[in-house]
């Protein structure tokens, strides 16, 4: 599904990612953890093609395609989804209109005709139910005036609508109370399938109680310094990141 080889990336002149290697197979859930400033969010930005960051070295292969050749919108249409840490507001643009445009762009890319209005509304209803999102959220403008929790739920709703092959959840747990966390995690779990993979970026073990990863990676100073099964998350929770920092001080 996704192969990252020796990925280096910088912003301005500061190198943030310094040689990331990672392979994700269909159906797998990978958690990426690490202290502040280790490059977690940069990794999600680089994967989705945010041009604030410049890739200086390395390759990313997604579904057999070199991601460097694809625009951010084509990466999305290829099935990559980012649940933003800070979803932006787009005043005056209804969620319905926004999602319909997005879905039809995805379909156009695959050579399919636009979805009919009735099919679309049906799909909306289905997915709203699946992720337990309030009906009136989707009647409002994109994220406008949403609370932090509502914004995150709305990200998961969009994920459900677009049915991506690879979902990247960038600190989806930040700013969520325990109930919202459970709803968001449930949504993610319901969408789990043998074809779909997920990258969960988080600081805390808490989210991983609900979304159980197959692998846990620790990112530190732009490199993956440790990879193991889900027990690694528990270990980090217990010991903090200091022992890692000590080990990899350079």
């Amino acid at each position: 599904m996704l192969t990252i080889k020796n990925l280096h990336a910088k912003i301005d002149d500061k190198e943030i990612l310094r040689g990331i290697n990672l392979t994700i197979k269909p159906g797998e859930i990978h958690a990426i953890m690490g202290p502040n400033g280790s490059g977690k969010s940069t990794l999600s930005a680089v994967l989705t093609g945010n041009d604030k960051f410049e890739v200086t070295e390395g390759d990313i292969i997604f579904n057999g395609k070199n991601l460097m050749d694809l625009s951010p919108e084509d990466r999305s249409r290829e099935g990559m989804f980012l649940s933003f840490q800070y979803p932006v507001e787009i005043p005056g643009v209804s969620m319905t209109n926004f999602m319909r445009t997005a879905i039809n762009e995805h379909r156009k890319y695959k050579g399919e005709p636009p979805m009919s209005a009735s099919d679309f509304l049906k799909l909306m209803r289905e997915k709203k139910k699946l992720v337990e999102i309030d009906s009136n959220l989707t009647n409002r403008s994109v994220n406008e005036g949403f609370s932090g929790g509502e914004k995150k739920k709305n990200e998961i709703f969009q994920m459900a609508m677009l049915e991506p092959k690879l979902s990247i959840l960038d600190e989806t747990d930040s700013g969520l109370d325990i109930d919202a966390l459970r709803i968001v995690a449930n949504g993610v779990n319901k969408l789990k399938s043998p074809e779909r993979s997920t990258i969960v970026i988080t600081h805390y073990q808490r989210l991983l109680d609900y979304i159980v990863p197959d692998y846990v990676h620790v990112l530190y100073k732009g490199r993956i310094v440790r990879s193991a099964g889900k027990e690694l998350a528990l270990e980090l929770e217990e010991k903090g990141y200091d022992w890692i920092k000590k080990e990899f001080e350079d």
Partner: protein, 482 residues
């Protein structure tokens, strides 16, 4: 990153104007230049009654004493009036009794513009008056409307057929000495639409005039007069386009509206004159005086304008709220791109008691354009309990354009409540990236964001035109930000 942004910006601003074609049709023109003889010639061409000629001559004499105004935030090159042709008409039969008599080239032209002149093919619920250069080509659904006593025809016909109404109302809202371009228009206006809605009649169709400039080196000077008698209602829409040419062409129009007791007029404009190319060459100078006179108590006028075209726009659709409890509304979207300049807004003149006005203005500037809102809210001494709310927002795409707001308030009555809110914002890269990440291209993202931003105004347009206007906005901004 900055370089990338500039690149995308340039790509986006390089969009093409869809309506830039010309129609090769035999056109009758008079020699270029402006003189008393030209004014007489235009009047003679139109077989006008003497009162009309006299009105034109008075206006012309007054115009000679005036200077081109320079107070707007616009850079207007000097206009050489001796290089302009003041009258041009497709040379075909002077009068069309049926659609079959209309030159197929003309029908084809209007078809290309999405304005079918054939009533069977026409947009449901819309009657159209089509004006090419200086003359009205065809008015549809005239008979259907006549059954209700509604008059909808070209102003030329109205001058001949309804001289009493014309003598009473033409120039009653915008006098010929109102301003420089009004004087010019009053002297040389060629055609336009006339609407009269009788007492108590709700016009069953949207009335629409479509203006097309085709001939070279000509100016278009149209004149529209709408009279809504007591307890009547009409929704009127105008649209306009012009071919792509390297020279600037002048368009100086007057629209006058008289609204009687409890009557309501909704006037919508989708202005898409040729804006010039991306280097600022060519384009229409759009100098327009539009004013509505809410004469009767409880009357209402609502202006909605979507301004995307023209190289220079100078336009302030105004409301004179004379009747007690009368209401004036102004909803505006002005989009400028490349080297376009717009100085537009409104005047709300509160004369009657309990009068209300609302201003919602949304400016969108891209490229190297300049976009100004200029608005006056005036409350006279006797206008007790007047109320105004103004909202003026500007959206900037890129960093080479300018947005300006010039609000003027003259409040002479201390019972008035007047509020003004203004905001300026930029489309954020993060908004665009968010859309990109959901599969939208940058251009589509900008279109979506801008349409969201102007939604409040677009919602005021009649349904059929709201969709058109949305597409138009997207088109005008194609390629405008990174």
């Amino acid at each position: 990153m900055a370089e990338d942004q500039n690149k995308i910006l340039e790509e986006v601003t390089g969009s093409d104007y869809k309506f830039g074609f010309t129609t090769s049709i035999d056109t009758e023109t008079i020699p270029k230049g402006l003189s008393e003889d030209v004014v007489r010639l235009i009047s003679a061409k139109k077989n006008e009654p003497e009162f009309m000629l006299n009105y034109r001559l008075e206006a012309y004499k007054h115009w000679l004493t005036l200077k081109q105004p320079d107070w707007a935030h616009l850079n207007i090159p000097e206009i050489n009036f001796q290089e302009i042709i003041f009258y041009a008409a497709p040379r075909t039969k002077p009068k069309y009794d049926s659609i079959d008599d209309v030159d197929p080239e003309l029908i084809d032209t209007f078809n290309k513009l999405g304005i079918p002149l054939n009533e069977q093919k026409a947009l449901a619920g819309v009657a159209v008056d089509a004006v090419m250069d200086s003359v009205s080509v065809k008015t549809t659904f005239k008979e259907t409307l006549a059954e209700k006593g509604i008059i909808f025809c070209s102003i030329s016909d109205a001058i001949k057929e309804f001289p009493d109404l014309i003598q009473k109302y033409l120039g009653s809202v915008v006098t010929y000495n109102d301003n420089y371009f009004a004087a010019l228009n009053s002297a040389v206006f060629s055609d336009g639409s006339f609407v009269y809605i009788p007492k108590g009649v709700r016009c069953p169709l949207e009335l629409s005039t479509y203006f097309r400039i085709n001939a070279m080196n000509t100016g278009q000077f149209e004149r529209t007069l709408i009279i809504a008698d007591d307890d009547s209602y009409v929704s009127y829409l105008e649209g306009c386009t012009a071919p792509m040419r390297d020279e600037n062409q002048l368009h100086a129009a007057i629209v006058e509206i008289v609204v009687m007791e409890r009557a309501e007029v909704k006037y919508s404009t989708v202005q898409n004159w040729y804006p010039g190319d991306k280097n600022g060459v060519g384009g229409i100078f759009n100098f327009v005086t539009k004013r509505a006179f809410c004469k009767g108590d409880y009357s209402k006028i609502s202006w909605t304008q979507v301004e995307t075209g023209s190289s220079i726009t100078w336009k302030y659709p105004s409301c004179i709220l004379k009747g007690d409890h009368s209401v004036g509304e102004f909803y505006s979207v002005a989009v400028t791109n490349n080297y376009q300049q717009a100085d537009t807004g409104t005047k709300m003149i509160h004369l009657g008691k309990h009068t209300k006005s609302l201003i919602v203005s949304k400016g969108v500037s891209a490229g190297k354009s300049q976009n100004s809102y200029r608005g006056l809210v005036k409350v006279s001494k006797k206008a007790n309990d007047a109320r105004n709310f103004s909202q003026c927002d500007s959206l900037l795409l890129g960093d080479k354009c300018g947005a300006h707001t010039f609000p003027y308030l003259e409040i002479n009555n201390n019972t008035a409540i007047v509020e003004h809110e203004a905001t300026t914002s930029k489309i954020g890269e993060d908004q665009i990236f968010y859309c990109n990440q959901r599969g939208l291209s940058t251009e589509d993202a900008i279109g979506l964001i801008v349409n969201g931003y102007v939604k409040e105004v677009i919602n005021q347009l009649p349904m059929e035109f709201a969709v058109e206007a949305q597409k138009l906005l997207q088109l005008s901004l194609e390629g405008s930000v990174g």
